[in-house]
């Protein structure tokens, strides 16, 4: 494990990357490797991957949309019984309306050519997490949420 992923004395795992899609892979790897003492099931590890990928992709695509320089993204993760507490912090643009998108389910009963090719991210995040909160702190965006663990192998 690199220095970027380390459990501190308060048991919060911290990982830092910059706004590049390839770095999202690194962040996911480091978080999952840092969480190995929590013995996540394969299903839960998959959920962590899905949620982190969508949250981090959103930061890169939207918060750092205009960014020509490398912007930092910090991930903080704490393993609690039956859930993970996660915080993602960035120094990019604030979220529009300071609101977390609810994420809507798409109408798929449409002509082939009208099938959606995007807009799945927030829907999956909202589906797989609880109590998603967004706020600004010290000029940074903070997204905080809980991810239930202990999955038995079924999609909720």
């Amino acid at each position: 494990m690199s220095d970027a992923a380390r459990a501190t004395e308060d048991d919060v795992l911290r990982v830092e990357i910059v706004n590049d899609f390839i770095e999202v892979r690194t962040a996911i790897e480091q978080v999952l490797s840092g969480l190995s003492p929590a013995n996540l099931s394969e299903e839960d590890a998959g959920t962590v991957q899905i949620v982190l990928a969508e949250v981090l992709n959103n930061v890169i695509e939207h918060a750092y949309a205009d960014s020509t320089e490398h912007g930092p993204i910090e991930i903080e993760c704490r393993a609690c019984p039956d859930e993970l507490e996660l915080r993602v912090l960035d120094q990019g643009l604030p979220m529009p309306d300071a609101q977390v998108p609810m994420g809507k389910s798409h109408d798929l009963d449409v002509d082939l050519m009208h099938l959606p090719e995007g807009g799945f991210g927030w829907f999956m995040i909202q589906n797989l997490t609880r109590d998603v909160k967004y706020f600004r702190s010290g000029g940074r965006n903070v997204l905080q949420f809980w991810l239930p663990t202990g999955a038995s192998g079924k999609v909720a």
């Binding site: 899609f21 892979r25 299903e43 959920t47 899905i50 099938l115 959606p116 999956m124």
Partner: protein, 109 residues
Amino acid sequence: MDLSTEIEGARQIITVNDSRIDAAVALEFKEKMREETESGHDYVILNLEQVQFVDSSGLGAIVASMKMLGKGRKLALAGMTPTVDKVFRLTRMDSVFPIYASLDEAVAA
């Protein structure tokens, strides 16, 4: 992004020889799918047995590939691993593709 093609009778099997179709490679995947499917086979099986993870960008790129084939041609998905399967089920995109548990099953269908 490494794709390889095999022809099985009237069908084309495209195998993804990578473990992820995510935002870092989604555009490249779409472009390679365009090249691979130029041959014009009516039935294309996308073999996802080696793919461990697909994010929403990767999912969008797979949907875009199906649209690229157009109405007369079909794209079937084979060998989805558990996390990939979860992404398709969550977004209900599992309802728009023919899906087979393995490549063998897709070829036998």
